[in-house]
Subunit: 216 residues, 2 copies
């Protein structure tokens, strides 16, 4: 499979982790978001939205949106499962994943930060406050669920990693990147630590990808 | 089932349409977002994120996030299906739904508009421009898919309504509410018109709900 991504992209990180957990081989093409390569006609032909990730499996049309891609991988390669078996459990895991992938992360992506700077004159400290606020709100919600729900376990849902953990890790990586203090969310931080101790998560990390700065 | 929503909420609209299409009875509790009822401890106990919709089915814990709720309804009540049968088709429909529910709609919800006003001093015309920009970007992406993908039909995917159409309709309703011109996206506008001619879509409309202003 061919994955179009970028080292820094948190949505690509999610797909990378899912593929690692399921042992699916990939070639990853880096679309340089910092150089604007996502806006080129060549990439728009792959994903009209002009965002990463996009995934090509065989000769099928490109798949888009990280959670849709992960559900596809789950259906095509069911082992190990990234969703629980029961509908209520699946709903909870999908809900937690969407707290991140719908309500937190899309607010801080480059196109939004650029709009804040260009159209609303937000300076760097205002943009940083914005980023930390929305990623923090996502973490606060996940933390409340981890603390209160009977289904919480060693991971977000029970004792194996699901797509909720994949999304939580992407949120935590972003929060730390923008110097947020993950320790304020102790249950979430513990799940993230447990995940990052696994090779499938660790080698998907943005700073382990080609093109990333060597700061680790 | 008990649905916690609000007449104006576009995410609640999505769940309402899905329930109507599947013929699932509901009691809808209106959480007054304009009075801040979503922040009350009473509602936070139902959904810690403090947003609508939330759904309670029987004595189970509340379900949250509109797309997770719709996937749950799809698993529990498979007829009529709101997702195609094949994994690639499901991925495309979920991807289109997420273009709306992840990358467009969450940028314009009340909590974000309040942040823009309170912390970034955005005036009303700037907030309106922001809303139209992000909803418009979502429509532009859907339009490109409808125009170019072989799988497009009378609806977003083939000739029956799916969760992609549900999401597109929620986007279109919001765009019109903020005086955007849906006609700029002719393929999307045609799908929306086809949907709104159906009772299941029409009676889910925000302005048909209790508490809505009588402006239709």
């Amino acid at each position: 499979m061919k994955l179009f991504g970028f080292w820094r992209s948190l949505a690509t990180l999610r797909v990378r982790i899912a593929m690692n957990l399921k042992g699916i081989e990939r070639d990853e093409v880096m679309v340089d978001l910092m150089a604007g390569a996502q806006h080129a006609a060549e990439f728009r032909a792959i994903n009209p939205q002009g965002v990463v990730p996009a995934l090509i499996d065989g000769d099928g049309p490109p798949l888009f949106q990280s959670l849709a891609i992960i559900e596809y991988l789950e259906e095509r390669f069911p082992q190990p499962p990234l969703l629980p078996a029961d509908p209520r459990g699946r709903a909870r895991v999908r809900g937690l994943a969407q707290v991140v992938a719908c309500d937190a992360h899309p607010l801080i992506v480059p196109r939004v930060r650029e709009y804040l700077e260009r159209d609303l004159d937000a300076d760097e400290s205002q943009r940083l406050a914005w980023i930390r606020h929305w990623l923090g709100e996502g973490l606060r919600t996940i933390e409340a669920h981890l603390e209160d729900d009977a289904d919480s376990g060693a991971y977000c849902h029970g004792d194996t990693a699901t797509v909720a953990d994949i999304c939580l890790v992407s949120l935590a990586v972003g929060y730390r990147f923008f110097e947020g203090r993950l320790e304020e969310f102790p249950n979430a931080a513990a799940v993230v630590e447990r995940c990052m101790a696994q090779d499938a998560f660790e080698r998907a990390h943005p700073l382990r990808q080609p093109g990333a700065p060597h700061t680790r």
